[in-house]
Subunit: 408 residues, 2 copies
């Protein structure tokens, strides 16, 4: 008998029928003798409906009140799932974030979890109850309702698993795991049985939508075993996210190919190469709350260098505007920019111990005539920026050249 | 400067536009220097939508979970109204029933208020905030969400007014007060400036839908001044519900004509007139949770009498079924029944000190050829049961014969 936390996303609970399906799956786990804590999101579309209604009343809704409103989405789902479980003859009880005291800070619409009071949940579990908890929401020290921001239900699941020292935190979604590449682009892409936390962090940060990056960080910090599963396919075991040291080290060199086409690149040409110059460029951008992703600066010639970085496309124009006075001030030669780019990354903990991954990647792209505009590397990832039109081709040829269609 | 509690019903907050209208009205009261606590219902149609969704999952929804679900209706409205108030430049803060600790018993879907913790509300009012509170809901001693049952938002308003010792509890609805009769039947019907609590109780129990009877009882017990107002007409002062002793006793004899066509009548013929017989008849009906309204028994002849009473039409068939063995057992002669009846009542505290109201009522009906099937009286009310087809005629001629179209 184990204590398992399960989290079902908005699509999995998108209708009365689907909620009944989730209840049957929970009942199945329960019948195998496990203790179950189930975290649910709002029904698909509900959060957007509520936000749209709020905006009819106030163009920029008051954050405290928006949280009061949006948190009703999950509250409806916990009640419905509990009803469905009771209908199947199980004991079930629902709780909002406030009721089980998922204590957060007071940053409305993007709060962070501080602690969870698990006494009530434990008491219910000991009574044989399935405990159903609203994801995505909490309560601050003054009793105000807060939300964790979009996708925060994953984080609720992981935080509960940590607080309850659960065996596993199962994230049910509309895909049945983490793949070696997006199957819509690479039909041969293969589901990974395991992936390490570090790889998952890189994949999430690269735009792979399977898990919210904050929930993965949280799981890493509290050493929660997470598993990604499909709520529609019963058979698959999904992908287990492992701690490297737990596993036999027969890791594949490369776990997957990720990509991101939400970015734009900016290069400042002819920057005088002196200390403090990077801060002079990026400081004002950070002050405007714009996140910078890749940053590349090569060695300088004659005291001059080129300084490149990428930002989200939504921030592209704003960033260019901010840079205008900066470029003048630092006496740079000019600015080059473009938003028709894509970032393609090869990720794998195995590359630490294998030389030659980078050169293999660059050769593969060169053979297809794909020009590399920027390169950046981390211990377990190599990312390149290329012309957006080559994105699908690049992902496919890399997937093939690293032999990812073969079980590792 | 006074502290005023206002309650807006579902129609008044039925859309973003209407919520903005409510906000403007609240802002107007605030600008006159008053402190405002505003109670709101769910947007019109929302509670029914939620109940229908629950029934898709569970035919008879678990009461605890139904409360978790249905309470989201008001939670959405409090957030929207607070946003609308903030948009107008006011300080506003919303609270669910649980957040301001509207403590109730644990009778899910029909809970009763035990107490209200007003500290947080007072602190907000002292800061100049408009406090917006979800009607119809509370929390039990274990932290479970409860609801007060349909129409319970009026009761929330009155309970808050009592706890805060408010100057007045204003109930905004889609009519602008209490009328001498239903204006759809009697076009000359006149809005009453005041009506006593006792009269209001009789009117509510007779099916006049202006206020929930529980809220009126509550107001009577805690001596809360209630006023019924229209949320759509700005000019009208509505109807103030007064405590008799507060007012100059120049009361009109009759306040209004009420009616109810939801009842059915049952007569048991030839009942042996001996002690305990009424209990033998009504006991099994009460045991089946069927409410009996009028009960009439006349003097007996030769040790036999006829025993009549009315029940809600929904309970008519069930009641006849329950009576079958009873009639045999007590050896009554038979049963007569009918559901094509209506009850018409004349209500007014003034009738206590005026003889002849009953005879005037009976004469008026006789002049129109309307037969009276049953009569029952209280201190401030005379009710008759007549054939349903004469209902509108009876209400109109009584309204005219008591001169109700003239200001009292």
């Amino acid at each position: 008998m184990a204590l398992i936390v399960q989290k079902y996303g908005g699509t999995s609970v998108g209708s009365a029928e689907r909620i009944k399906n989730v209840a049957r799956r929970v009942a199945d786990w329960k019948s195998r003798g496990h203790q179950l804590v189930v975290v649910v999101s709002a029904m698909a579309g509900e959060t957007n409906r509520l936000i749209a209604l709020a905006k009819e009343v106030q163009a920029h809704p008051d954050p405290r009140e928006l949280d009061v409103m949006v948190s009703t989405g999950e509250q409806v789902t916990i009640a419905l799932l509990s009803m469905a479980l009771v209908e199947l003859g199980l004991k079930a009880r629902s709780y909002t974030g406030a009721q089980v005291k998922i204590l957060t800070d007071s940053a409305h619409t993007k709060a962070r979890i501080v602690s969870i009071d698990e006494t009530r949940i434990r008491a219910d579990l000991d009574e044989g109850c399935v405990v159903v908890i609203a994801g995505f929401q909490g309560v601050d020290a003054r009793g105000n309702i807060t939300t964790l921001g979009r996708g925060g239900s994953d984080t609720t699941g992981v935080a509960l698993a940590a607080a309850l020292k659960a065996e596993e935190c199962q994230i049910y979604t509309d895909v049945d795991g983490v793949y070696t590449a997006d199957p819509r682009i690479v039909p041969e892409a293969r589901r990974l049985k395991t992936v390490t936390f570090e790889e998952m962090l890189e994949l999430a940060s690269l735009g792979s939508k399977v898990l919210q990056i904050r929930s993965v960080e949280f799981a890493g910090r509290y050493r929660v075993r997470m598993r990604v599963l499909s709520s529609f396919e019963e058979e698959s075991e999904g992908t287990l996210i492992t701690f490297e040291e737990d596993e036999d080290m027969e890791q594949a060199t490369i776990s997957g190919i990720a990509f991101n086409r939400d970015e734009a690149k900016i290069t400042i040409l002819g920057v005088p190469d002196r200390p403090g110059i990077a801060y002079q460029i990026l400081g004002p951008i950070g002050d405007a709350n714009i996140d910078v992703d890749m940053i590349v600066q090569n060695v300088s010639h004659d005291g001059m260098t080129d300084f490149s970085f990428t930002v989200h496309r939504n921030d592209f124009k704003k960033t260019l505007k901010i840079l205008e006075p900066v470029v003048k001030h630092i006496k740079a030669r000019g600015v080059e920019s473009g938003d028709k780019i894509a970032k393609v990354s090869v990720v794998g903990v195995g590359m630490r111990s294998h030389a030659g991954i980078a050169s293999a990647m660059f050769r593969t792209l060169a053979e297809e005539g794909i020009n590399i505009e920027m390169i950046s590397t981390s211990e377990i990832k190599i990312s390149v920026v290329i012309d957006e039109k080559y994105l699908e081709l690049a992902v496919r040829v890399l997937h093939k050249s690293f032999g990812l269609e073969q079980p590792g």
